[in-house]
């Protein structure tokens, strides 16, 4: 399916590009913008972005595949990311991951058939003092327990995700 960059995207892109002396420095911020609108960065979108920035397609593809935050396939409405690094590991991350695998019948990298949940394990989220930590889309949920995880899943099943206060 051909991909068309929206006027809205192009306006945002012009603002972002103006922050740098070279337009191609805006590549990663613009990939964030693309992902924001669709939840992932499609092959065709990479092609269009390359043309927009006058870059070889390979530059765009290299960035999308190097940086772990870019999804190359549609993710679920809620992308649950469980930190598995050392402090979260000691604080019970394997149990959280086990509960999610069992309750959602998913392995890491998979999405539920209803498109609601994607499960991933990720490396250090930089919030180790409140381990274990999970991230759902862009929100952090800290000091997690199995009970809190169950409650959060219940909320999300009803389409609710209340971000914690900053």
């Amino acid at each position: 399916m051909p991909y068309k960059l929206t006027d809205e995207f192009k306006e945002a892109a012009a603002r972002i590009c103006a922050r740098y002396p070279r337009r191609d420095a805006a590549l990663i911020p613009l990939l964030h913008e693309l992902q924001k609108s669709r939840g992932f960065v499609a092959e065709e979108a990479m092609d269009e972005l390359a043309k927009f920035l006058e870059l070889p397609y390979a530059r765009v593809k290299a960035a999308v595949t190097f940086y772990t935050m870019f999804n190359r396939a549609p993710a679920g409405k809620y992308h649950i990311q469980v930190c598995r690094n050392i402090s979260c590991h000691m604080a019970g991350a394997p149990d959280l991951l086990g509960r999610l695998r069992a309750r959602l019948s998913l392995k890491e990298g998979e999405t539920t058939a209803d498109g609601l949940f994607t499960l991933s394990s990720v490396e250090c989220l930089g919030a180790c003092g409140s381990a274990p930590v999970i991230q759902v889309n862009e929100e952090y949920f800290e000091d997690m327990t199995l009970e809190k995880l169950d409650a959060l899943l219940e909320e999300m099943k009803h389409g609710r995700l209340k971000p914690p206060a900053l």
């Binding site: 922050r19 002396p21 070279r22 191609d24 420095a25 805006a26 590549l27 990663i28 911020p29 990939l31 964030h32 530059r59 290299a62 960035a63 190097f66 940086y67 772990t68 935050m69 870019f70 598995r84 690094n85 050392i86 402090s87 590991h89 000691m90 604080a91 394997p94 990720v122 490396e123 250090c124 989220l125 930089g126 919030a127 180790c128 003092g129 409140s130 381990a131 991230q135 862009e138 929100e139 952090y140 971000p163 900053l166």
Partner: protein, 415 residues
């Protein structure tokens, strides 16, 4: 001691201003750039990102004078496992960073600055953008700052998930829109950095300390720390202590004070076995070694470890050291950028050997094999990621060899 960086109710511009915020910027703009650099040198402020390089010295490497484009970059790509101080600082005191950057930019003659923040910190990036907009509206950023004729534009740039971008030249590559693969040095960023121009890259915590140094003087700041390391340091404490979190303490504070007084000791029933003192890359210490230590750059180096980022990971005696090293090896293997063979292959083989030790397929020779792979990686790559893997491997084996031997003899601990 009063905190310098982490203070209550200082997050909003009005609050920061009410506490004397942005007065140091006004003062700095009345000084010559060389005077500011001299003051920062006097403060003994060392880079808080991990390497501990003297900040004033770093600034002095930038060619002086107004000719040519120069850049100031803040490294907010906080990703060293066990480290979460910059996140706290960005939330609690964003204006200290903004003001510190404006002062640093004036000192080195930079008209543009970027804050490279890790992509996952979306909320912190939004918070920072709002703070920048507020500072700009009051004339602390932008054109002709406070009528001085000095111009400085500051932008937030979000990364997208790559630990390696915390390495300063990988960060520059990423900021230019490339894969975050570290550059060969020399040339150093001070001569050829962002977009080929002279560039200073400092950690969030380093830059946020600058306004206080200008306000109260380098001597005042230096006196807070040890003879060679000035000021206070943020310590991120994780693991099973009663009160994990970020603590601002003078450099040279005893580890035992951090654990017992500030963190309230270990959680009931937990006994301290080991400490990773400066983020996951720094060599592990036994509990006895840690309890005898002072927390500053020199003391940690003398003990065979590093202060690093100040990410103190407390490990209790219910944890298996082989398992924890496997967790770290999985991380470094995942995060190796792949350009240097010793790192790419070394991290991979270390993870594979640890996997079989953990899962019961190991042999007694595996322990020496791990050690020799780690030795073979050290100092043979463009950046320090290989060493960051090798240091935990060698120190875990040296300090806790018995646990590795039990696994080599068939022990499996599961999970």
């Amino acid at each position: 001691m009063e905190n310098i960086l982490l203070r209550n109710n200082i997050s909003r511009l009005e609050e920061y201003f009410a506490c004397g915020g942005y007065k140091p910027l006004k003062k700095a703009l009345g000084l010559k750039p060389a005077e500011i650099i001299a003051e920062v040198k006097r403060s003994n402020l060392r880079g808080r990102g991990g390497a501990g390089f003297p900040a004033g010295l770093k600034w002095s490497f930038i060619p002086p004078g107004p000719d040519g484009q120069k850049y100031l970059v803040c490294n907010a790509d906080e990703g060293e496992p066990g480290t979460f101080k910059d996140r706290e600082l960005l939330r609690a005191n964003p204006h200290a960073l903004i003001e510190g950057m404006a002062i640093a930019a004036y000192a080195i003659g930079a008209a543009h600055g970027y804050i490279y923040i890790r992509g996952e910190f979306a909320a912190e990036a939004a918070h920072l953008n709002a703070a920048i907009a507020g500072a700009r509206a009051k004339g602390f950023l932008g054109k002709n700052i406070l009528g001085s004729g000095f111009n400085f534009e500051l932008f937030v740039h979000r990364g997208a998930g790559a630990y390696i971008c915390g390495e300063e030249t990988a960060l520059l590559e990423s900021l230019e829109g490339f894969k975050g693969q570290p550059r060969l040095k020399p040339p150093f960023p001070a001569l050829k950095g962002l977009f080929g121009s002279p560039t200073v890259i400092n950690n969030v915590e380093t830059l946020a300390a600058v306004p206080s140094i200008i306000d109260k003087g380098g001597d005042w700041y230096a006196a807070l720390g040890t003879a060679k390391s000035g000021g206070t340091k943020l310590f991120s404490v994780s693991g099973p202590v009663a009160r994990p979190g970020v603590y601002e303490l003078p450099l040279g504070t005893a580890f035992s004070e951090l654990l017992e007084t500030h963190c309230g000791g270990m959680k009931p029933g937990k006994k301290l076995k080991a400490v990773i003192p400066g983020g996951s890359s720094t060599p592990v210490l036994t509990a006895a070694e840690a309890m005898a230590l002072k927390l500053d750059y020199e003391s940690l180096a003398a003990a065979g470890s590093m202060l690093g980022s100040g990410g103190v990971i407390m490990i209790d005696d219910s944890q298996c050291m082989v398992k924890l090293l496997q967790v770290l090896a999985r991380f470094y293997h995942h995060e190796s950028c792949g350009q240097c063979t010793p790192c790419r292959e070394g991290c991979g083989w270390i993870e594979k050997v640890l996997n079989r030790l953990e899962e019961g397929g190991g042999t007694p020779g595996d322990i020496d094999l791990l050690y020799s792979v780690a030795e073979g990686m050290t100092g043979r790559t463009i950046c320090a990621l290989a060493d960051a893997m090798a240091m935990p491997v060698m120190s875990f084996i040296t300090k806790f060899r018995g646990e590795f031997e039990a696994h080599a003899a068939g022990k499996v601990c599961g999970k």
